[in-house]
Amino acid sequence: MAQSPKQPLIETTDLVKKFGAFTALNGVSLKVYPGEVHALLGDNGAGKSTLIKLLSGVFAPTSGTINVEGKTVSFVSPRNATDAGIGTVYQDLALNPLASVTRNFFLGRELTHFGGPFGLMKMNEMHRIAAEEMAKIGINIADPEQAVGTMSGGQRQTLAIARAIYFGAKVLILDEPTSALGQRQQMEVLKTIRRVQKLGNIAIILITHNEIHARLIADRFTFLSLGEVIGSGTSDDLKGDDIKRLMAGGAEIGDLAKELAV
C-alpha cells in the first residue's frame, strides 16, 4: 500500500468485537485520510455495520484502539463520537419523517435564545442555515418547513450529510447511502459525496455493495470478510479484477463456479 504523507484522521488498530461467543470483528486495522473517500466493502454479515458502530460509539470494542487525529479515544455513547468529529449517516438516516427539514437538521442541537430545553428556538436562523448548508452540497430546498417524509431519498441523504458536516463532522460515515435508491437518486448522492470530498478536510467512509459506485468515487478500499480485512489499497493499487474478487469475499470466479457446480 502506498504510504500517504498525510496523517490519518482516523486510525483503528486490531479492533475486535465479540457478541458473546460470536466474533463479529477479528482484528480490523484501517486508516482514513482527510479529503478521501474510503470504501468499506464486503459481503452481507462481513462486519461492516459493526465496524462503523464501533467508530460511532454505539458499541465499545472488545479490544483494539481507535485513534482520532493521533489521539486514542474510547467512546461510551454516540454523543462522544459526534463530539470527537465522527458523524454517522445511518441507513435509516436518523431522520424524523413527520417533522420539517429544519427541525430534522437541528434535531438534538437546536439553536435557542436561552439555555435549557425550554429555550425558544431561533426558527428563522435555523431555516436559513439549513437551507444554506444543504445548498452547499447540492440541493436547494423550496421550503424548509417541508416534511422530510415528502422528500426524495436522495434529498434525505443530502440533508443527513449536510447536518453531520455542519455539526463538525471531520469523518463522515455513510452506511449504504445508495442501496435503497433509484438510479437518478443514486447519482445525486454520489454527486453530494463528491462535493464533500472536494471540501478537502473531511474523510468519508463509504459502505457500499455497489462496485461501480465504489470505483467511481473511492480513493482507497478496504475489504472485509467474516470479520477480517482480506485486502486493502488505493484505487491505483487495485485493478478491476482485484476489486471484483475481493468483493466476492476473496474467492476467484473460478472457485465460485466450482462451488455452484454441486
Partner: protein
C-alpha cells in the same frame, strides 16, 4: 463534476401551496369544522321552542349560565387531554389519568380535612398481635398550597415511576399504566376506607365530605377569618358595625347596584304575574269565539286590552343588604383555593348584567357570577404547552421521540428523559384537574375521574393526534376537547332525540378522526 446549474431543480418539483390550500391541508381543519357544526347545533337547538332567532347566543346553550357550565366541562377535559396528548405525541400512553384524578383528589381532601401525618406502623403484642401506628409528625392545619404540594409529591412520583418502568423495561406503556389504573384506584379506595373510621365520617365511606369552603374564607375586620356565608349570617348590628370603616363611595355604588338588581327582579316578577293574569282571559276569549258569543268576545277583548296589574314594588335596599353585598365583594383569604376552585371574570359578568343586560335570568337575577377558574388554568396550561411544543427545543424533542425514536437517540435527544418528563406532566395535569374539583365542590370521592383517561385520549385523537406518535398540535387537542364537551350538550337539546346519541356521534367522530389522522400521516411519510 460540478455541472452547470440545471434550469430545473429538484426543489421545483415541490409545489408551493397557496395560503388557502395550506390552510385546508392543516390537520386541524376537519375537527374545526365539526366543532363549528356543534357550536351551530347547540346554539340553534337550545333556543326555546316557538322562538326564532338567528343569534345563537339567545339559546340556553350559550346564555351566560350555559357558557359557564360548558366551558367548565371543556376546560377540565382540556387540562387532562394536554397531558395525555403530549405523551401520545412522544409515543406513549397513560391510562392511569382517571385513577390519578381520584387519588389526587382524595389525597388533597384528606389533608385539608384532617391534616397531614407521617405514621410508622409497627407490630404490637399488647392484647394480641396487631398493627399499631406511631405518629411521627402530625400537622393539623395544612394550607391549600401545602395540600396541593404534598399531593404533587405523591402523584408526580407515581408519574415518574410509571415512566421509569416504561423506559427501563421497554414494556408497552399501555400495560404499565393499566397497572397504574388499578393500583391507584384501589389505593384510593383503601386509604379512604381506612381513614374513614373517624367519628365524623360514615364508616367505610370512600368519600371525604365537609371540607370547609376554603375559597370563600375571608378576612373580616373585627371577626378574623370567617366563611363568607357565616359572615353574611352575622347579626345585623355586626353587619352595620362592619360598614362603618367602608368608604362612602363604595357603599353608594353597592347600594346603587342593589337598587338596580331589585328593580330588575321586581320587573321580572311583574312580567310573570302579567302573563299569568292574561293567560286565563285569552283562553276565555278562545272559548267565546268558538261559541260565537259576540258580546262575550268584545267584553273579554276589552278586558285584555285594558288589563293591567300593579307593578311589583322593588325591595328597598337596607344597610344590612349593602353589608352582605360588601361581604360578597371581599376577596378570598385563601388565594390558592380561590385560584383552583373559585370564579374568574366576575367584572365581565357583572358588566354583562348591569350595563348591557345580557346576563339576566327569567327572575331578573344575575345569571352567572363568572367563569369557573379551571377555564383560566386550562388556558394557562394551553399557552405553556403550545409554546413548549411548537417553539422550544423540548417540543422538537417530543416530536422526534414519537416520530422516530432511533433517529432522536442517534442525534442525542434524551428520549428516556423526554418520556419520563411527559409521564410526570400527565400526572401533574391529573392533579391540577383534581385540585380544580376539590376546591370547587369541597368534597372528594374515590370514584372521581372514572374513565377520564379514555375521554382525554379520545379528545386528543379527535384533535388530530396520531396514535403512533410524532404528530399533533396543542390547538388540535383543544379543538378535540371542545368537540367532546359540546357534543353532549348539543345532542341534549335536539328535539325528539335520545340524549345518549351523543355517544354514538362521538364514537363515529373518533373513528373518522383516526382514519383522517392516519391518512395525513401516510401522506407526510410519502406513502400516498
Amino acid at each position: 463534476m460540478n455541472a452547470p446549474v440545471a434550469s430545473r431543480q429538484e426543489s421545483d418539483r415541490h409545489e408551493r401551496k397557496s395560503w388557502l390550500k395550506s390552510l385546508f391541508a392543516r390537520p386541524e381543519i376537519g375537527p374545526v369544522g365539526v366543532m363549528l357544526l356543534l357550536f351551530g347545533m347547540l346554539g340553534y337547538f337550545s333556543i326555546p321552542a316557538g322562538e326564532f332567532s338567528l343569534n345563537p347566543f339567545a339559546g340556553e346553550g350559550f346564555n351566560a349560565l350555559g357558557i359557564r357550565n360548558n366551558l367548565r366541562v371543556i376546560s377540565q377535559l382540556t387540562i387532562i387531554a394536554l397531558g395525555a396528548g403530549l405523551l401520545i405525541i412522544a409515543g406513549e400512553f397513560d391510562l392511569s389519568i382517571g385513577s390519578m384524578i381520584g387519588f389526587a383528589g382524595a389525597c388533597m381532601a384528606m389533608i385539608l380535612r384532617w391534616g397531614f401525618s407521617i405514621v410508622i406502623p409497627y407490630l404490637s403484642f399488647e392484647g394480641g398481635l396487631h398493627i399499631e401506628f406511631f405518629t411521627l409528625i402530625h400537622i393539623p392545619d395544612v394550607s391549600p398550597l401545602g395540600a396541593i404540594g404534598i399531593t404533587l409529591c405523591f402523584t408526580l412520583f407515581f408519574g415518574w415511576l410509571q415512566g421509569f418502568i416504561v423506559v427501563k423495561s421497554g414494556l408497552p406503556s399501555f400495560i404499565v399504566t393499566l397497572g397504574g389504573l388499578f393500583f391507584l384506584r384501589g389505593l384510593t379506595e383503601v386509604s379512604l376506607r381506612s381513614f374513614n373510621h373517624r367519628a365524623d365520617q360514615v364508616k367505610g365511606a370512600t368519600t371525604v365530605t365537609e371540607i370547609p369552603d376554603l375559597k370563600n374564607i375571608i378576612n373580616l375586620p373585627g371577626h378574623g377569618e370567617i366563611e363568607r356565608e357565616a359572615a353574611k349570617a352575622l347579626p345585623e348590628a355586626d353587619l352595620l358595625a362592619l360598614m362603618k370603616d367602608v368608604p362612602a363611595d363604595v357603599i353608594a355604588s353597592i347600594a346603587e347596584r342593589l337598587a338596580y338588581t331589585y328593580q330588575r327582579v321586581a320587573d321580572a316578577k311583574t312580567g310573570i304575574i302579567a302573563t299569568k293574569g292574561v293567560k286565563p282571559l285569552e283562553r276565555a276569549l278562545e272559548n267565546a269565539i268558538e261559541s260565537g258569543n259576540e258580546f262575550m268576545v268584545t267584553t273579554i277583548r276589552d278586558k285584555i286590552a285594558n288589563f293591567s296589574i300593579e307593578p311589583v314594588v322593588p325591595k328597598t335596599v337596607t344597610d344590612a343588604d349593602v353589608a352582605r353585598a360588601y361581604i360578597d365583594s371581599i376577596s378570598s383569604a385563601r388565594p390558592v383555593a380561590d385560584f383552583f376552585g373559585g370564579d374568574i371574570l366576575q367584572p365581565l359578568f357583572d358588566w354583562l348584567y348591569f350595563p348591557i343586560d345580557w346576563n339576566t335570568n327569567n327572575f331578573g337575577n344575575q345569571f352567572a357570577s363568572g367563569l369557573y377558574s379551571c377555564v383560566m388554568i386550562s388556558l394557562i396550561l394551553c399557552m405553556v404547552c403550545y409554546v413548549m411544543l411548537s417553539k422550544t427545543q423540548a417540543g422538537n424533542w417530543i416530536y422526534s421521540t414519537g416520530g422516530n425514536i432511533t433517529a432522536a437517540k442517534a442525534n442525542g435527544v434524551p428520549t428516556n428523559k423526554v418520556k419520563v418528563c411527559l409521564f410526570i406532566f400527565s400526572a401533574f395535569c391529573a392533579t391540577v384537574f383534581a385540585a380544580c374539583q376539590v376546591f370547587e365542590v369541597n368534597t372528594a370521592d374515590a370514584a372521581k375521574g372514572n374513565l377520564k383517561e379514555l375521554e382525554a385520549i379520545a379528545a386528543a385523537v379527535i384533535g388530530g393526534i396520531v396514535m403512533t406518535g410524532g404528530f399533533g398540535t396543542v390547538v388540535g387537542i383543544v379543538v378535540g376537547a371542545f368537540i367532546f364537551g359540546l357534543a353532549k350538550e348539543a345532542f341534549f337539546y335536539i328535539p325528539g332525540i335520545d340524549g345518549s346519541f351523543y355517544r354514538v356521534f362521538l364514537g363515529l367522530v373518533i373513528i373518522a378522526s383516526a382514519l383522517l389522522n392516519e391518512n395525513i400521516r401516510k401522506r407526510i411519510m410519502g406513502a400516498i
